[in-house]
């Protein structure tokens, strides 16, 4: 099972923001969605998910609302705020930059390093 430290710092925020950007979701659905879309490569533990959700809410990136869930019970649904959307774009750009940079380093020609 993937622990929060297995994810690069800040990646969980990006995953959560992206996941709630489509439609409001509760914590369980966010975790499930991340697992499904990543084909079970990314497993989000509750210990990492809920503190992250509360932090993002406190920072004003997402807003919470109690609503009836698909099972009929009340659940806390999180939705992206307008400021959160800007933040998501910022984090996406940063992620692209970072993963490109890492890709460039690890895929660089081995022959060049021989000399």
């Amino acid at each position: 099972m993937s622990r929060p430290s297995d994810l690069i710092q800040g990646t969980l925020d990006l995953l959560i923001l992206k996941t709630v950007s489509l439609e409001p979701k509760h914590g369980w659905a966010i975790a499930k969605r991340i697992e499904q879309v990543s084909q079970d490569v990314l497993q989000v533990t509750q210990g990492a998910l809920y503190p992250a959700l509360h932090r993002l809410e406190q920072q004003g990136w997402i807003r919470a609302e109690w609503r009836a869930s698909e099972t009929g019970r009340d659940a806390k649904f999180y939705a992206l705020t307008r400021a959160g959307r800007t933040q998501l774009e910022r984090e996406l750009a940063q992620w692209e930059r970072l993963s490109n940079a890492v890709g460039m380093v690890i895929r660089s020609d081995l022959g060049a390093s021989r000399c």
């Binding site: 914590g27 369980w28 533990t45 509750q46 210990g47 809920y50 406190q58 004003g60 099972t71 705020t81």
Partner: protein
């Protein structure tokens, strides 16, 4: 900006409606737990076993709650109050220690304010005279006596040649005794030359101030 309003609203809510916020947090995590149990049960686990497996997966309910509380960032205010209560309770339990601390604080604050009121009186407070920044005091200064009093005859010479000061005066300590039927009393007094009150910017309400002619005993006819 909308975001800051949201943030402020959440902070205030965490502080003022703590119990409500706590209940919500509990409810939120419990919802997750129930969904996990259902998932395990749907996969064919007996209900009781599913419950244990879900609890194990949740990995520290109270710990997660505490981390969520930390994210609200009002913990320090809540902690401050409980720390304060704890401190007061511990002080109440050891009155001797409390007394020593209070005494130490009292004495040091008292000494401090005494020292500072002296500094204020001597160094910082302005003299109660008009144009007090123009009043100076003369001493004769030498290596062995940096502040030696001026003798009256020198003063007469200085005053006669004065072109730098608006007015000059001299004074000398001259206590007197008041005696009569009872125990004699010592009165603090000064002898002053003409112009003394002018130097200090004071004017006589009645009659006139001494002038230089009053300085000679043979002129004291009145």
């Amino acid at each position: 900006m909308r975001r800051w309003i949201d943030i402020a609203r959440l902070r205030v809510r965490s502080l003022l409606r703590r119990r409500h916020v706590e209940r919500e947090l509990d409810k939120e995590l419990r919802f997750h737990l129930e969904r996990q149990i259902e998932e395990y049960a749907a996969a064919g686990m007996p209900w009781e076993e599913a419950r244990y497996a879900a609890l194990r997966k949740l990995d520290g309910f109270t710990q997660i709650e505490e981390q969520c509380r930390d994210m609200r960032r009002t913990n320090w205010i809540e902690n401050f109050w409980s720390d304060l209560h704890y401190a007061l309770r511990s002080l109440g339990k050891s009155p001797g220690f409390t007394a020593v601390i209070l005494l130490t604080l009292g004495l040091s604050i008292g000494a401090n304010s005494a020292i500072f009121s002296m500094i204020h009186g001597v160094l910082l407070r302005r003299l109660p005279y008009a144009e007090e920044n123009r009043i100076v005091r003369f001493f004769l200064s030498s290596a062995s006596y940096p502040k030696f009093p001026i003798n009256p005859f020198d003063f007469l010479d200085f005053r006669a040649r004065n072109r730098s000061f608006g007015s000059m005066a001299i004074m000398s300590r001259s206590d007197v005794q008041l005696s009569g039927m009872g125990v004699p009393q010592r009165l603090t007094g000064f002898r002053v030359s003409a112009g003394y009150f002018r130097v200090l910017g004071m004017r006589a309400l009645h009659a006139r101030e001494f002038d230089t002619s009053d300085e000679f005993p043979e002129n004291n006819t009145s």
